[in-house]
């Protein structure tokens, strides 16, 4: 993952893109926690809502993989089928870890 290039893609500097990624990790982790809770209690509506937030933010930052996964969770939850969600949630978490590793590597 090349932060400089991604930032350029949406027209902002590397520093700004880093800041946004941090923000995304922070707020996104909260969303994931909420999502997990909602999944445990079988609240499909809440699952969809959390996934929607994630997918919107990821889309804006050009994080396509996260965007896709979150979108899948959202559509599944909207159909009230939570069966595949935990699997997708797991890969979401992994994608989050990747970003956080990249950020730690520094510029």
């Amino acid at each position: 993952m090349n932060i400089q290039r991604w930032g350029k893609k949406i027209g902002i500097s590397e520093k700004e893109y880093r800041e946004l990624l941090m923000l995304f990790l922070e707020s996104g982790s909260a969303d994931i926690a909420l999502l997990r809770k909602a999944l445990e209690s079988g609240n499909a509506q809440q699952v969809a809502r959390c996934a929607h937030t994630l997918n919107g933010a990821a889309g804006n930052l050009g994080l396509d993989q996260i965007h896709e996964k979150a979108k899948r969770i959202e559509s599944a939850a909207n159909l009230n089928s939570l069966g595949t969600v935990s699997e997708d949630l797991f890969s979401l978490k992994k994608l989050f870890d990747e970003i956080s590793e990249t950020l730690e590597e520094g510029p």
Partner: protein, 554 residues
């Protein structure tokens, strides 16, 4: 006999039924074909965008000159292919009856100049003058689909540019007719290009036709443009047609009915500094002189025009001797014999009363000429074709600066005025309220807007948006409003703001949903427009331009 007749009737009826059925099947399969074409083209578009996008990135890496040349070729071919695909999407949408038209207010004059600016770069290296003439009676605002209107104008003007190697291209926009609720606008695009032989004039409007078989090879294009233009125009209640004679070039006309807009722009106050001022305009292109003469006269100024640059100085001298001196002089840069720089230098080295007159340069390529203009002694700089508002803004600014007491010993400006600097100043004056609850989207949009020079106030939900705006409504020029927010959502917040009587502030929705129903909900709530996420810089800026510039640029 009767039996035979009956029998024949029955057979005829049966035949009719069969024909009707066949017709229905044919129509259905035609629609299906259009659908298929449309879907396919759409599918091709996505990977094409990736191809073009990544060639962009590739060009930013270290490449040899030869590699750069190859990548550029890929990129240009990609862009050409994409534009053909876009044409096919449009054509099949028209054929399957799926082309939607929006009804939003727009400024037709602004649109005309935008189109000129889009096409102008392609004329810079040719001895071609691009002119824009706006009818005094043209309504300041109309309601319709600005994108479709623009698409037709761009296509026609781009064609004119392609086929004109020397001379002039003039876009004129006028009010052709009006009824109680609608206005008919007519645009005419006249060029001095190669022209189109009479025998070919009909067929160029058919899809996949161009005037000569080798035209496509030389000039590019899908041959779909004109047929799409005509279809769009007809769907707007107008038409596209042409006149041409082989040696004199062509004129394409485009007419369309649009709704009158209830939304009125701010009254255009003419700066008082301009009224009654004598202005000398020097340009070798007589059409442009005529256009400028009209614009300046209509604004209460007293223009004199000349197409002979070598006479400029003597005209100014004579006026001074008659005690009716000019207050300002505008000169085209590119002129035969004595060009704009030379005129400026002549004036600046004349006798003292004359040498101080403010000078504005008119140029085809502002980026190229700016430095030299400053050196030659120009105070201001405008790129052609000149928009009325920009012209007035600059004249006003320069005259005011010139009138400042104690300043008249030193007329040469510290810094030359360019359209760019005027526009930048406007940008800084534009204040935006951004309502968005997601911290990432919030910060991203804020960064984009701030980087572009706008002033941004950020709030996290609808309640805050309403409170912040109502506390100081004068402080905002535009609101970007997320639709999904906790507490109070974007729709409710908009209704609250509109309900309190703030009908003028443009509110643009930001939503993840691209459905027509969502759009309707936004409009019903009183929003002016909407953009879909993911947020793109270009779209955000286009919205700002659309809703704010035309009102603040008074």
């Amino acid at each position: 006999m009767v039996a035979v007749e009956k029998n024949r009737n029955a057979r005829l009826e049966e035949k009719n039924a069969q024909i009707l059925k066949a017709k229905k099947i044919a129509e259905a399969s035609n629609r299906a074909k259009s659908r298929f074409l449309c879907d396919m083209s759409h599918e091709i578009r996505t990977p094409m965008n990736a191809v073009i996008g990544f060639t962009d990135l590739l060009l930013e890496t270290e490449l040899t000159d030869l590699q750069v040349e190859y990548v550029r070729t890929i990129q240009q071919s990609g862009i050409a292919l994409l534009s053909i695909i876009n044409d096919i999407v449009d054509l099949s949408k028209i054929e399957s009856g799926e082309l939607d038209f929006e009804a939003i207010p727009f400024d037709p004059e602004l649109l005309a100049y935008d189109v000129c600016n889009l096409v102008k770069p392609k004329t810079i290296d040719k001895p071609v003058e691009l002119l824009c003439r706006i009818d005094d009676h043209l309504p300041a605002m109309v309601k319709g689909d600005p994108l479709r209107f623009r698409q037709v104008l761009t296509n026609l003007l781009d064609n004119a540019q392609k086929f004109t190697d020397a001379g002039e291209i003039e876009l004129s926009l006028q009010l052709a007719d009006q009824k109680k609720k609608g206005v008919k606008l007519q645009a005419s695009i006249r060029d001095t290009g190669i022209g189109i032989p009479f025998a070919k004039q009909k067929s160029i409007f058919e899809p996949f036709r161009q005037s000569e078989r080798n035209t496509a090879r030389k000039y590019g294009g899908s041959g779909l443009g004109l047929s799409i233009c005509r279809k769009i125009a007809r769907m707007m209640g107008g038409n596209v047609w042409m006149e041409s004679s082989k040696r004199k070039g062509s004129t394409f006309h485009f007419s369309a009915w649009l709704e009158k807009s209830e939304k009125l722009p701010d009254p255009q106050l003419m700066p008082v500094t301009c009224v009654g001022k004598r202005i000398l305009v020097v340009d070798d292109n007589r059409t442009n002189l005529e256009i400028l003469d009209r614009i300046l006269t209509a604004a209460g100024m007293v223009p004199t025009t000349t197409h002979r640059s070598e006479k400029a100085l003597s005209i100014l001298e004579a006026a001074l001797q008659d005690a009716t001196p000019f207050q300002l002089c505008m000169a085209d840069i590119r002129m035969p014999h004595l060009d704009g720089y030379a005129v400026a230098e002549q004036i600046r080295s004349a006798e003292s009363r004359l040498s101080k007159i403010p000078l504005i340069a008119l140029s085809n390529s502002p980026n190229r000429d700016a430095k030299r203009c400053e050196k030659a002694g120009f105070n201001g700089f405008l790129s052609k074709p000149v928009r009325r508002k920009k012209l007035f803004q600059m004249i006003d600014r320069i005259l005011q600066q010139n009138n400042r007491p104690g300043d008249d010993t030193k007329i040469s400006p510290k810094k030359i005025h360019t359209q760019y600097s005027v526009r930048e100043e406007l940008k800084h004056a534009i204040k935006i309220l951004l309502a968005e609850d997601n911290p990432v989207n919030q910060r991203l949009t804020e960064i984009m807007l701030k980087n572009a020079g706008y002033k941004v106030t950020v709030v996290g939900d609808g309640t805050e948006a309403v409170d912040t705006f109502i506390a100081d409504p004068e402080n905002f020029d535009l609101i970007f409003m997320d639709i999904q927010m906790p507490e109070m959502d974007g729709k409710e917040a908009t209704e609250k703001i509109r309900g309190k009587g703030f009908t003028q502030i443009p509110i643009i929705a930001m939503t993840a949903h691209a459905m027509a129903e969502d759009k309707k909900l936004c409009v019903d709530a009183g929003m002016n427009g909407y953009i879909t996420k993911p947020i793109k810089r270009e779209t955000v800026f286009a919205e700002i331009k659309k809703y704010v510039y035309r009102e603040t640029v008074a």
